[in-house]
Symmetry: C2
Subunit: 173 residues, 2 copies
């Protein structure tokens, strides 16, 4: 096999492996939501709150891609479950900040322990330098996916015949 062809095969393998693990990650999330007894998007919002801290309802809608109406429902359910609190912004009383209730959020966090343990085991075999490579990749990957999302959204308003000619890899098998 030629040098470049070997790389192409490697890239394809990598892409598929990442797709698989990403799909399994989604499934893990679904299972967590199931076990925790909350809806999938409720859990997703908890995750965002964990990562971003205290955020407004509007920002939550933006990040999740849901309508503000749907977010009202999400926050209603989470608040009822005691997982978050609504906090009105005193400077701009239109805004509602959503904040996690730390103790209650711990209960949800428990369900991520199997994942953390599994990942710890995976990470363990890598040297610090290798981990830095992985971190660099994850960071760049995030930026890439973000850019791709924007590009895709841009594609919506572009009529098909005006779209840049996109070559698609053929299906396997």
């Amino acid at each position: 096999m030629s040098r470049t062809k070997a790389r192409a095969a490697l890239l394809q393998e990598l892409e598929e492996a990442m797709r698989r693990s990403s799909a399994q990650g989604v499934l893990y999330g679904q299972t967590v939501a199931n076990v925790a007894g909350i809806a999938n998007s409720d859990l997703e919002c908890m995750d965002i709150l964990y990562l971003e801290g205290r955020v407004t309802a509007g920002r939550l809608a933006e990040v999740t891609g849901l309508t503000t109406g749907a977010i009202t429902g999400v926050v209603d359910r989470l608040e009822k479950a005691g997982l978050v609190r609504r906090e009105r912004d005193e400077n701009d009383r239109r805004k509602v900040f959503i904040a996690v209730v730390p103790e209650a959020a711990m209960k949800i966090g428990q369900f991520y322990v199997p994942m953390q343990q599994a990942m710890e085991k995976v990470f363990n075999v890598y040297s610090d330098e290798e981990l830095r490579l992985l971190l660099r990749f994850a960071t760049e990957g995030y930026k890439g996916v973000l850019a791709a999302t924007e590009a895709l959204k841009g594609l919506i308003d572009t009529p098909p015949e005006k779209r840049p000619d996109l070559k698609l890899k053929k299906l396997r098998r």
Copy 2:
């Protein structure tokens, strides 16, 4: 900062970076489904069909975590949209294989082009050897997440007081 502490910080950073990119990946998928005009889980099934090839309805239910009843609906919609075909197994006529219609699937594939391009750009800066490291990580990661999912499912039937003592990292901020 001590040697081990530096690693702990690195691990945490890595975990968060991966969570972020994974969340953005989910959002990309939602956007694709949106643009393609099909439901999220319909797209997920298309993805599985792409990765696994021709699979039975039951297997689809297994992999997605949906009930067989839900899968009937998914396949009905996908078939109506001309994206897949039902094919009865001639050896076991209870089984229904679901197969992608290649030409139609291409249309869906188009929406992954921005992602492929973004990823290509990210991958480009890595040497073959570095890519092999990433592949190894993705493969191991997949296995880890799979195992974690099973472990979590096992946790459901274990009453809280009998669960192994799980230590949870504290929340940031």
